[in-house]
């Protein structure tokens, strides 16, 4: 905890800052402060988010495709057992919530669940450990948890939203989809009201997906940072400092154990809502 010369608010800000980089005037440049990152505008990339999520996605796909390649119908063992357990769990969830038949929904649900679970799991890595690696490399900011970056969650929610639009139009036709947006619940004479209500209904899907996940993980991360601050206030050996330091250990342990639940739960909620939204897109309701 290199907090010397660092105020509490600077410590918190430091941990909430992504590694934002963009190409400016022909050369690659990374922001050092939040203001600088903001000034980069839209065409900048949070390298840490992209890198970590890419890595975690590859780990998931590597493990699962390795098992899928050598899968046998004999008595499963080890890794195959685990993979089959996960797959059967996802398959059960999809069968429970999705009434149509689709080759996409189940693997989509598996990808979402595994990927978000792994990204959330990064929250359990002690927050200052990553800087032990990145600091010597000259990288100032590095957020290890991609799901505490709204870009990541919004990005995935956009993906789901596009699928919802695609299947709505594919199943009901463009006219059917527009009709669903405009002709209910109040018939054709209440068209503006209908459009407003159904539009909000439609837009609420990706927004709720993205913000629920982001909010939960961001808040969890924030509490980890605050807990970490307790021990960071250590200056000299005194009763208060010792008390704070030991509370940090117990609090972070307790919060981490509780967080295991949140990590899994948020991944599961994102997956289930995706399945439900796609199910709604497949159905001609009302």
């Amino acid at each position: 905890m290199s907090t010397e010369g660092l105020t509490t608010s600077a410590y918190i800000k430091h941990h909430l800052q992504n590694l934002t980089c963009s190409i400016q005037e022909g050369h690659f440049h990374c922001a050092h402060t939040a203001e600088e990152a903001k000034a980069m505008g839209f065409w900048a990339f949070n390298i840490d988010t992209l890198l970590v999520s890419l890595l975690l996605g590859l780990i998931f796909l590597f493990l699962f495709s390795k098992v899928a390649k050598h899968i046998s119908t004999d008595v499963p063992s080890g890794m195959q057992n685990f993979v089959e357990w996960v797959v059967e769990f996802i398959d059960g969830s999809v069968r429970g919530s999705f009434t149509g038949r689709s080759a996409l929904v189940a693997p989509l649900a598996l990808s979402i669940f595994a990927w978000i679970f792994l990204m959330n799991l990064m929250d359990l890595v002690p927050i200052d450990y990553i800087s032990l690696i990145t600091q010597p490399m000259g990288i100032g900011h590095f957020k290890l948890v991609p799901t505490t970056d709204p870009n990541a969650t919004i990005g995935m929610a956009i993906g789901v939203f596009l699928l919802v639009l695609f299947y709505s139009i594919k199943v009901k036709g463009l006219g059917g989809f527009i009709g669903e947006l405009t002709l209910q619940p109040f018939g054709k004479f209440g068209l503006p009201v209908n459009l407003f209500l159904e539009g909000v209904n439609l837009i609420a899907k990706p927004v709720s997906l993205a913000l629920r996940l982001f909010g939960n993980m961001y808040a969890g991360e924030m509490i980890f940072i605050l807990i970490a601050l307790m021990g960071a206030s250590w200056v000299s050996f005194s009763f208060t400092n010792t008390l704070l330091f030991s509370s940090q250990i117990f609090l972070s342990l307790g919060w981490a154990i509780f967080h295991i639940l949140i990590v899994t739960l948020q991944a599961f909620i994102f997956m289930t809502l995706t399945i439900v939204y796609l199910d709604m897109a497949h159905q001609e309701h009302h």
Binding site: K38, S65, A68, I71, D91, A103, L110, A152, L162
Partner: protein, 156 residues
């Protein structure tokens, strides 16, 4: 915490991961799971069939055993019957043989009696002749009185 092009990258990554998962991960695993389910179902069905076969075989063997027992007791009964028949036959034959022997013996005895009677008759006639001769005191001409004597013998 700015919204920037990261979300485009994230969306593309998301799409690629889902595509890969849909293409190379999910189908083989699901196929294997289905295949195993089928194998287990087949195995259970085969076990059930085997059990039925076993029960059937047990029933059949019990039936065979029962049949064999019946046959054996039948054969034994037949044997018993035949044995008693043979004994009866032997008895009957023995009786016939005995009767035959008895009749033969009787005939012989009768013959013997007849012969003895004949002998006695001749002897009696001789004795009577001798007695009569003695009584008359004279020689009886055997030749002259032979008719008389023969009559006498016939009378005895």
């Amino acid at each position: 915490m700015n919204i920037n092009a990261t979300l485009i990258g994230q969306t593309i990554m998301f799409a690629l991961f889902v595509w890969f998962c849909m293409k190379f991960v999910w189908p083989p695993i699901m196929a294997a799971l289905d295949a195993r389910n089928k194998r287990i179902a087949d195995g259970l069905a085969a076990a059930e069939r085997g059990k039925n076969d076993l029960a059937l075989a047990a029933k059949r063997s019990a039936e065979l055993l029962r049949e064999a027992k019946e046959k054996v007791s039948e054969i034994i009964a037949l044997g018993d019957k035949r044995a008693s028949e043979i004994v009866e036959e032997a008895k009957a034959q023995a009786k016939i043989e005995g009767d035959r022997i008895i009749t033969a013996a009787k005939a012989e005895v009768e013959q013997e009696v007849f012969r003895a009677k004949e002998q006695l008759r001749t002897q009696v006639s001789a004795i009577a002749l001798a007695g009569a001769g003695k009584i008359l005191g004279r020689e009886i001409d055997a030749k002259a009185h032979n008719d008389l004597l023969d009559k006498l013998v016939a009378e005895i």
